[in-house]
Amino acid sequence: MKQVSFRNDILPLKNELYRLALRITLNPAEAEDVVQETLIKVWNRRESWAEIDSLEAFCLTICRNLALDKMKRMDNQAQALDDTHDPPASDRSANPEERAVQRDRIELVRRLIAQLPEKQRSCMQLRDIEGKSYKDIAQVLSISEEQVKVNIFRARQTIRQRFIKTENYGL
């Protein structure tokens, strides 16, 4: 097993952890706290780094559990994802008005994902945004690969249906 460096191997995972935490907590400040706690927890277990198969999955698992704890404590699942960071400006449409419309539509997608149950949200986050395999996701969430697939399937179906509904009735 190669030498693991906190600075070079674990700290760079921060944004991935943050995105997962944000997906669960739906609150940027809480998400940042969760990432910080996660990294400190991982640091405190540095003696066992060498025995861990995938540090990334290990960090993601801790991050998710901490985020879930936080959610339980705050019990504010109804809070919407309103005050999140601005998405990086897409240069696809030069016109500012078009860009604003585009941002609104992206925001809509985000809100649709935010309305999913937590498990589906986490699965979808890890699969569609972080590009993880079913096996890795199963490891992070401590569920079977089949369950991961079912969760992602339900998430995608829900998104599709709501999407088509909004398309039909307008924004």
């Binding site: 906190f6 600075r7 700290l11 921060k14 944004n15 943050y18 995105r19 940027p28 940042e32 990432v35 910080q36 990294l39 400190i40 640091w43 960071h85 998405p87 990086p88 897409s90 696809r92 585009q102 539509r105 992206i106 809509l108 997608v109 985000r110 699969r127 569609d128 945004i129 972080e130 590009g131 395999s133 697939k149 992602i152 399937f153 995608r156 179906q157 998104i159 599709r160 999407f163 088509i164 398309e167």
Partner: protein, 174 residues
């Protein structure tokens, strides 16, 4: 243009039958400008996925804060063990290069430069020194005399040292 492949991929995506590569293809496809009207509704979903993956809100200040908590100094605090050999390696290398260059340079100079012709004995260039044969004879005699004296002197020194060696040998033997 035919979008059957994309439509097929989309259908399989919603059935959870796509591989990670195929999902990446879908994301790349929806990044482009001209998406056909029929696929437009799905564009935002994939654009959103792509954008979400790029969000990196935690900057360097977060790193510094965390490293401070964790107790790892921003600069590398671990002392590295450097052996004298590896420490002086650049010097050795430089010396080796200089030595090689000098050797090659010398060899090249020696083999390329024309031989010094002046050292060769060329009797035709010799000229007479004396007009009177008797004066010349005296000079040669003097020179030979000097030489024989030198020879005699060295011979005497040889026999003397040989005798001394014999003496010490006999002394050691006794």
């Amino acid at each position: 243009m035919d979008y059957k492949y994309i439509e097929q991929l989309l259908e399989r995506y919603f059935q959870c039958e796509t591989t990670l590569q195929e999902e990446a293809i879908l994301r790349a496809f929806f990044q482009q400008e001209d998406v056909p009207e029929s696929l437009m509704p799905y564009r935002d979903l994939f654009v959103c996925q792509q954008q979400e993956a790029l969000t990196a809100p935690l900057g360097d200040d977060f790193d510094e804060r965390l490293l401070a908590i964790v107790g790892e100094k921003p600069q590398q605090e671990k002392a590295r063990v450097v052996k004298l050999g590896s420490r002086l390696m650049p010097l050795f290398r430089a010396a080796a290069i200089v030595a090689i260059v000098l050797t090659i340079g010398n060899a090249a100079q020696f083999s390329l430069s024309p031989r010094n012709q002046n050292d060769d004995i060329n009797y035709s260039e010799y000229t007479d020194t004396y007009d009177d044969p008797t004066v010349a004879y005296d000079q040669v005699e003097g020179a030979l005399q000097l030489m024989s004296e030198g020879l005699i002197q060295s011979q005497r020194a040889d026999t003397l040292s040989a005798g001394m060696r014999n003496n010490t040998d006999s002394l050691v033997r006794n």
